[in-house]
């Protein structure tokens, strides 16, 4: 297997999640709240492939997502890469890796990401974001991301871990957590 294919596989997973997010989930709202799979993608990538690759994945996913909305461009990527790095670091500190850690850290990271985004957007001048409804938004986004975290982890392992597993003829690339 070509070791460089992890980027192609990662791009394929991102494209599928992006289409799911924009073309399918945009019309599927829970109490008016839209799930945020792109945030979940970055978090799960950090849990599966380590904080560095997770932060990069979260950054790319959020930047792509920001292209289709009119909120400040770059704000989602800023929040996503930081939160992904944090949850990836926590995951690495949990030794050995716990079975429950992926859903739990994905849910917690999602909620933290949503609230952090609203806080930073408020600092940037967007009004009316810090209100009680924010807790509901964070809750819905977190619950949906928890629900999809395990299948998403499977897809991202296929992309980032399986593709970089060393073979007899080729060493694993540096910096990719396994």
């Amino acid at each position: 297997m070509n070791l460089e294919s992890h980027w192609l596989r990662g791009a394929a997973v991102l494209a599928i999640i992006f289409i799911l997010q924009d073309a399918v989930l945009n019309g599927l709202r829970i109490d008016g709240i839209r799930p945020d799979l792109l945030l979940g993608l970055g978090l799960v990538a950090a849990l599966v492939a380590g904080p560095e690759l997770g932060a990069v994945s979260a950054f790319i996913a959020a930047t792509v997502g920001d292209l289709l909305v009119n909120t400040p461009f770059g704000l989602s990527s800023l929040v996503a890469c930081i939160v992904a790095f944090l949850v990836g670091s926590i995951q690495q500190a949990l030794s050995p890796t716990q079975r429950w850690s992926i859903p739990v850290l994905t849910g917690a990271g999602s909620a933290v990401g949503v609230v952090t985004w609203a806080a930073l957007a408020t600092v940037l001048g967007l009004p009316g974001l810090l209100h009680p409804h924010l807790a509901l938004i964070a809750g819905v986004v977190a619950v949906v991301n928890v629900a999809v975290s395990l299948p998403m982890a499977r897809a991202l392992r296929w992309a980032f871990v399986a593709a970089t597993r060393p073979t007899a003829t080729s060493p694993a690339p540096r910096g990719l957590a396994g």
């Binding site: 289409i19 924009d22 073309a23 399918v24 945009n26 019309g27 599927l28 709202r29 829970i30 109490d31 008016g32 709240i33 839209r34 945020d36 380590g50 904080p51 560095e52 932060a55 990069v56 950054f59 930047t63 997502g65 920001d66 292209l67 289709l68 909305v69 009119n70 909120t71 400040p72 461009f73 770059g74 704000l75 990527s77 800023l78 890469c81 930081i82 790095f85 949503v114 985004w117 609203a118 957007a121 940037l124 001048g125 967007l126 009004p127 009316g128 974001l129 209100h131 409804h133 938004i137 986004v141 910096g175």
Partner: protein
Amino acid sequence: MSVARRSTRSRFTLVVLILLSLTFITLDLRGGGPIPSLRGKVRDAFAPIQSAVSSLTSPVTDFFQGVFDYQELRDDNTRLRAQLAAASAQQIEDQYLEQTNKDLTDLLKLDFVGDIPTVAARVIAGSGSNFQLTIVIDRGEDAGVLQGMPVVAGTGLVGRVIATSASQSTVLLLTDPSASVGVQFAPTPAIGVATGQGTGRQLSVTLIDPNAPVTVGTVAVTSGLAGSPYPSGIPVGTVTSAVMDAGVQARDVTLAPVVDVSRLSYVDVLISTAQTPSTHPTPTTLPPGNVSAAAAASSPTPSPTPSPAPSRR
């Protein structure tokens, strides 16, 4: 040693990503950079895929949406049955009110939509963000739609265009917390500024004169004061409460929007020349008791560059 080096490199990567993000934010907030046009091109490029996938998955999406909204749909059904019964009984009164409304409109010389060219558009997507209440419509610059143009539906105001691409536009709904519109409580001369409060919540109104004769049931229409992007006389909402807050000598007035912005299928864009250069709604601060502020609150930011004249379609 290897772990420490990897950790240092990870932190370095994170710092680079943070700096990149901050650069994007700065470029976008300054405006006029490549980001708005990039967003427009991505929207145009993605539109066919979005449309195709939406068509394929809409039966499943609609099913699950129906499950999530079951209670709301049931409540709607009950409410609509009651309204239908009431409407039958009030048909005669409605005819009288229609004539009265026409007379009052003529009296106030309201500029209603009838004189303004419009572009009909289909709503193709909701907001891509949980923090901005917008819709995406299938008409853009090619159809003469420009930033700042008001958008209406059958019964009243929906919002205004905040971003355009060649084939699509994004409309900021009047329920968004950053949206505000100058309103008049016809037939009285009372005016104020209505501001969105978020999904499913009513509009909050700041009255210019707290003692103005505003009562529950009064219909608020756009005031159309000088500088406002909205023509006068477009229905905005119906007053649902008007309570005097004795402590601060102000009235808490709330409006129920006349248009259910959560269930829009088709809208009309009013081809007016008012435009705004920013894709982000700017926060509004309103000094109380100032009539010009009502116009300013609903005015677009002046464009630094002349924009092309809209074409009539």
